[in-house]
Subunit: 133 residues, 4 copies
DNA sequence: GTGGTCTAGACCACA
DNA sequence: GTGGTCTAGACCACG
């Protein structure tokens, strides 16, 4: 699993790491059970501070994406989100609304948006069965 | 044009204002040429600091959404984004990828995502012809 | 709202802060909407590093107990937990099982346990209406 | 006596073993005088490091739950905790307070908590007479 | 070796 | 002023 970050991006480094891991899982590049690089290792690779990696892993754990085990490492989980259904729905609607609004202001048309979403969906491995909470 | 902000949201206030204006324009609640409330007026309405409104208007101007004219006020523009076509494309792809990745981790399936996007698109008035930069 | 921590306890400092805030809310000593001490202020009061307070506030925010607003402060929320019902149930059962097992090994009898729980419940302000997710 | 541990849980493995033994004793699945599996045996069974089992047995001995006899093995004890009465009381109160506070923040009501505790108590064999220290 | 916690101190973003 | 992020480096706990 390759993780890339851009130190010039306004997006916080730890969030870039979080997204990269989530994207790898969604894309199928990494699978539940896989072990992520150790904190020190990834920090060295990305040339960032170990604490920043720790923070990213903490966020991922709270999102139910990884499990950290002291002394053992950080592993991709297959737990899925523990949020209530209503909260999930709310988040999805919000995500969609924001994307559509931004796309509108970029001058795109409905077909463009639908096509972009369809392409993004094609990159994701949905067939993997995942536990719903 | 009604602007609502949620002081309990973790999203910065000025960003909420920016998004609200963009959403109003996309939804058709406001049209190019309309005059936005003055900084002081909007600040009072939303019970936030005028500096926060100033900042929001600055961002909106930078994004080509409004034009500020000395002494006259702040007007909605139809300029559209002045980004290069390639950059726009990149942003749209990125938006879609992020939304899809988050949706995946929330446990949604492709149909759910497409449906949410379609619904969000229905709320937007795309028929308004807008000049492409 | 008074927060006390014990630097000699094996419980991490930030967790002590987290629990203290949750307990204050449960006890009614603090109410939703109240502003917590600023990061620097609380750090000074407790004679710990500001980062440790930041961490506690982060955890509280993820648990839906507080909302942090940049530039404004950290406020007690009335959101309640966003977890799915099943996950909540699981956590409650687990909490009860652990308490009972420990109580058993301390030599207490069922009546003692029930009494202790009843007393703890008396200290909590359940009448406050809270939103269920 | 069956011991199960969950390698995906954030709880340290040795603590899971400690709790499992305590729970078995409380539940009646195991009785004072029973011999626990040898360190190597249990380590193999659970597929964990022998050091981890050693550590768990050490903690159990410190808590007065088992007695380790050189060359003979590790036996469940009926000694009970050797803490002073006041200290025990304090621990019980603390346990109850923590459980109740967490339950409050999960959105449960007093009846739910009492019911969960009652159910947990039903699983424990309190009739076994145990010597108080 | 792994992750977990804490300190110290810097600099940026928001209201 | 507030919180948000990041670095550097220490020491502890777990396997």
């Amino acid at each position: 699993m390759l993780i890339h970050i851009d130190s010039r991006s306004p997006e916080p480094l730890f969030e870039q790491v979080v997204f990269a891991v989530k994207a790898a899982l969604a894309k199928g590049t990494a699978k539940p059970g896989d072990r992520l690089p150790s904190v020190r290792e990834l920090a060295r690779e990305l040339a960032i501070n170990p604490n920043t990696v720790v923070r990213a892993y903490e966020v991922l754990e709270r999102d139910g994406v990884v499990v950290r085990r002291q002394g053992a490492g950080c592993f991709l989980s297959d737990r899925g989100s523990d949020l209530a259904q209503g909260e999930k729905r709310r988040q999805l609607t919000d995500l969609a609304k924001r994307m559509v609004t931004e796309a509108y202001h970029l001058g795109f048309r409905p077909e463009d948006v639908k096509k972009a979403v369809a392409e993004a969906l094609d990159d994701v491995q949905f067939e993997t069965k995942r536990r719903q909470s």
